[in-house]
């Protein structure tokens, strides 16, 4: 069902945890749906210098969380916002169709965290994305 790459990341995810003095925090998903992803960003000069995640969810949710944090680390926030769920799925060697929403969650998680950062800076040039939405609904 899952690719080897995905299983590897699921078993040994990167960037697990929280950043206590995060510059941006995004939380997406809904416990009722069985998946919640929380992304913590440390940002310097509009560049993501550290990122961590906490995820309640299936193997795909955990692996996509891990993958998306790796994909955005070191990127500017502008570049990070361009990381799509497709990029995440591709980097994992593909996802089973019924698990695509987990990768959507990863994309939205980053966006939510960036939004939070921008909001804290008083900059609302991006529409705040809807969080706490059931990704599957």
């Amino acid at each position: 069902m899952y690719t080897e790459k995905l299983m590897q990341l699921f078993m040994n995810p990167k960037n697990v945890g929280r950043i206590e003095d995060a510059d941006g925090i995004g939380e997406v998903g809904n416990p009722v749906c069985g998946d919640v992803m929380k992304i913590y960003l440390k940002i310097e000069d509009d560049r993501i210098v550290d990122v961590k995640f906490e995820t309640f969810g299936c193997a795909a949710a955990i692996a996509t969380s891990s993958m998306v944090t790796e994909l955005v680390k070191g990127k500017t926030i502008e570049e990070a916002l361009k990381v799509s769920n497709k990029d995440v799925a591709e980097a994992l060697g593909g996802l089973p169709p019924q698990k695509v929403h987990c990768s959507l969650l990863a994309e939205e998680g980053i966006k939510a965290a960036v939004d939070d950062y921008l909001a804290k800076k008083g900059n609302t040039k991006r529409e705040a994305s809807e969080t706490k939405q059931c990704a599957k609904a």
């Binding site: 416990p31 749906c33 069985g34 309640f56 795909a60 955990i62 019924q98 599957k136």
Partner: protein, 392 residues
């Protein structure tokens, strides 16, 4: 994470390995005594004898008459034959059928389909342990009720139903009573001469027999309309060339199950299972047993662990060589966690963290030790990742 050093299969509610003795009994019927039981020649007669013997063995497991057993292509098929068969046979008498909220889909979806076809279905609720209250059944029966179908024991949470009381209510009201005993048969004693049961479903592969063969007990005198028409095999109630090897395997599995029940072996399984339950509840915080504590299948343990999700849990266990299952929505790719966990009143977020561990006759103390050593670590490792996890 520690390297895998053991294979521990704890998913016997999903399916069981075929017992070596069962396989040995089956083997001659593939390539040697391969005849069609409906043929008159020597090959056919040998096959017919074997099917007859298997029917004897299966009937003896539940104290039925051989003529009250028909073989089917599995448990789901037997459920469908029973429910649709009674519905069609009795549709002129009434169109009301009663079932419960925690039936297997083979029963529930069959009832839902009948509903679309003009039948009226009442779905009884269950209490927090997954028990159907006899009073609820009594209240639900109407003059046009033709069938009550309630399972003997639940596959997800292991709860055994008060079958005698439920069946007696049906008898009093002259309503047919079908029970899906796929999980119970072969594991707890069932005597259809003593219990008020009219139809009962069994499946070989849940009692160390082969997949693809089931049986339906139909009490003498109970009439049903066949679901599969054709050559008239199985008293015209399930046409098609008999799966001789599979049926022989079922017969042997039933005979071995009768022996195990007579020797009280399920009690040993129960003790081991209790050690597993107690160990898990002791070692893991924020864990709960699902289903009834005592009125449950002897080999069955099921839990919910807060803050984590079932699929991750079972895949991490799989990586350690432990085979388990979960009723989480994510394991099935569906939106909703199992209907059983919701029906016993669990909130979604807790139902997502469900785990089922079902023991087998060959499960050892060491297997249980291995799970008790590893499961707490796995739960902890996932909780560390969870935004909800308590941290020390």
């Amino acid at each position: 994470m520690q390297t895998m050093n053991r294979f521990v299969y704890l998913d016997h509610s999903a399916t069981t390995p075929v017992d070596q003795k069962v396989l040995e009994a089956m083997l001659p019927f593939f390539s040697m005594d391969f005849g069609n039981p409906n043929s008159l020649h020597a090959w056919g007669r040998k096959a017919r004898q074997a099917v007859d013997q298997a029917r004897d063995e299966v009937s003896r497991l539940i104290n039925a008459e051989p003529s009250e057993i028909i073989f089917t292509g599995g448990g789901s098929e037997a459920d469908n034959i029973a429910i649709k068969g009674v519905a069609l046979a009795k549709k002129d008498k009434g169109r009301h059928i009663i079932t419960s909220a925690i039936e297997h889909h083979a029963v529930l979806d069959t009832c839902k389909w009948l509903e679309k076809e003009g039948f009226d279905i009442t779905i009884l609720p269950v209490d927090e342990y997954g028990t159907i209250r006899p009073e609820e059944l009594r209240k639900a029966i109407r003059p046009d009720t033709i069938l009550v179908t309630i399972h003997f024991a639940n596959n997800e949470i292991g709860t055994v139903q008060p079958i005698e009381q439920l069946g007696n209510i049906c008898r009093e009201q002259d309503v047919l009573f079908h029970t899906d005993a796929v999980q119970a048969a072969g594991h707890i004693p069932i005597d259809v001469k003593k219990l008020p049961i009219d139809l009962m479903t069994m499946a070989a592969h849940k009692m160390y027999g082969p997949k693809g063969v089931g049986a339906l007990y139909i009490k003498k005198g109970v009439k049903i309309v066949p679901l599969i028409h054709g050559g008239g095999q199985e008293r015209g109630l399930r046409s098609g060339t008999e799966n001789t090897a599979g049926i022989v395997g079922f017969g042997k599995a039933a005979a071995l199950a009768s022996d195990r029940l007579a020797k009280g072996e399920p009690e040993k399984e129960r003790n081991l299972r209790d050690r597993l339950i107690d160990g898990i509840l002791e070692k893991i915080e924020d864990a709960m047993l699902t289903g009834h504590r005592t009125e449950r299948l002897p080999f069955h343990a099921s839990f919910c662990f807060h803050y984590i999700e079932g699929e991750s849990l079972l895949l991490r266990l799989d990586a350690l060589g432990i085979g388990a299952s979960s009723g989480s929505a994510c394991t099935s790719g569906s939106l909703e966690p199992s209907h059983v966990l919701l029906a016993i009143g669990l909130p979604h977020e807790i139902a997502h963290g469900s785990l089922r561990l079902t023991l087998g006759k060959d499960t050892s103390e060491e297997d249980i030790d291995y799970v008790l050593e590893n499961l707490p670590k796995v739960v902890e490792s996932l909780r560390v990742m969870s935004p909800y996890g308590k941290r020390g």
